[in-house]
């Protein structure tokens, strides 16, 4: 059984691989009766060893990913979201699998929306809808494990990618408005560079980074309040 993994495990990176190490205190041991005892005169020390146990889904890597650059609709329009504990999953066997809601709260979802499910016992993930109604969402067969209602589950719409060959002028960029404007500056910079206008390119790239910074700082707006002194002059 693994314990205090934040203190006993470490990792190193090697190319496209991650190497896991366990930090252990080792010693030569012997078993006396049913007790394991450390032999005092033998080697004793701290060292890194390979993982010495099986842990199902034991390694969790959090990373930024390259998501699909082009999507079917603007990011601001993918707003359908629903949370409830009245949601159940039905394994349709040979037929389509479905999600049901006894409170009929799926009205905002479109027929071919792509959705993400979080909070379920065994059906978290991304799915493509094949049909939708207020009380039922339908997906392809063989995707869900049957699960009765009770868990607090959230289902929300995520952008649906456009296949690379199908990207055209009507496709949307998978970025919010501010980052799309940054992409405009990036393209302007590339166009300036193509005609040898390096000063113009530098200007556009500065605008690009400025918009990226603005987008990030917009998430971190904080409000500060100070108590007004009773003698303050307004």
């Amino acid at each position: 059984m693994s314990f205090d993994t934040d203190r006993n495990w470490m990792y190193s990176l090697s190319g496209r691989h991650i190497h896991l190490w366990q930090w252990t205190e080792t010693a030569a041991t012997d078993t006396v009766g049913s007790y394991r005892v450390k032999l005092p005169s033998e080697y004793y020390g701290k060292q890194l060893i390979y993982p010495n146990e099986d842990i199902a889904s034991g390694l969790r890597v959090e990373y930024t990913a390259f998501s699909e650059p082009f999507v079917v609709e603007a990011l601001e329009d993918t707003s359908a979201r629903y949370s409830a504990s009245t949601i159940a999953f039905v394994d349709g066997g040979g037929g389509a699998d479905t999600i049901t809601d006894t409170a009929n709260g799926f009205g905002d979802f479109g027929t071919t929306d792509k959705i993400r499910i979080i909070g379920s016992a065994s059906n978290d993930g991304d799915y493509q809808l094949t049909n939708s109604a207020a009380g039922t969402l339908t997906v392809a067969t063989g995707l869900f494990t049957a699960e009765s209602l009770g868990e607090s589950i959230t289902i929300y719409q995520i952008p649906k990618a456009v296949a690379d060959a199908s990207v055209d002028e009507s496709s949307h960029v998978n970025l919010n408005r501010m980052l799309s404007l940054a992409a405009v500056d990036y393209i302007r910079a590339q166009m300036k560079e193509a005609v040898g206008d390096l000063q113009g390119k530098e200007y556009c790239m500065r605008e690009f980074w400025k918009k990226l910074g603005d987008n990030e700082s917009n998430k971190r707006n904080i409000s500060m309040s100070f108590p007004a002194s009773p003698f303050a002059i307004k």
């Binding site: 934040d6 990792y11 390694l59 890597v61 970025l175 992409a183």
Partner: protein, 92 residues
């Protein structure tokens, strides 16, 4: 914002070039700020040190190991110096 709107704002005529530059811009934005975060989970196998990084990874944010004692994933540290043990033929 559509590809067409970006092309009109920049005065770019070639759709193929616009697509390529938009992809570049998206790549730079994703690698600079954690906009799209994903989680990958793998089984840990007794005696196996090497695990593959996700193929769609741009930047690594954290690595955690499941503490089976309390069923929580706890963030682990990266070994900062070069490890003396290069291969362990008897990892028990």
């Amino acid at each position: 914002m559509t590809v067409q709107e970006i092309m009109e704002r920049t005065g770019l005529k070639e759709t193929g070039l616009a697509k390529a530059w938009i992809k570049d811009a998206v790549q730079i934005i994703r690698s600079s700020y954690p906009e799209h975060i994903k989680i990958d989970k793998q089984n840990i196998i007794d005696g196996e040190r090497e695990y593959i990084l996700p193929v769609d990874m741009i930047s690594l944010l954290s690595v955690s190991i499941k503490d089976t004692n309390d069923s929580k994933y706890k963030k682990i540290r990266r070994v900062s110096n070069d490890i003396v043990v290069k291969e362990d033929t008897d990892p028990e």
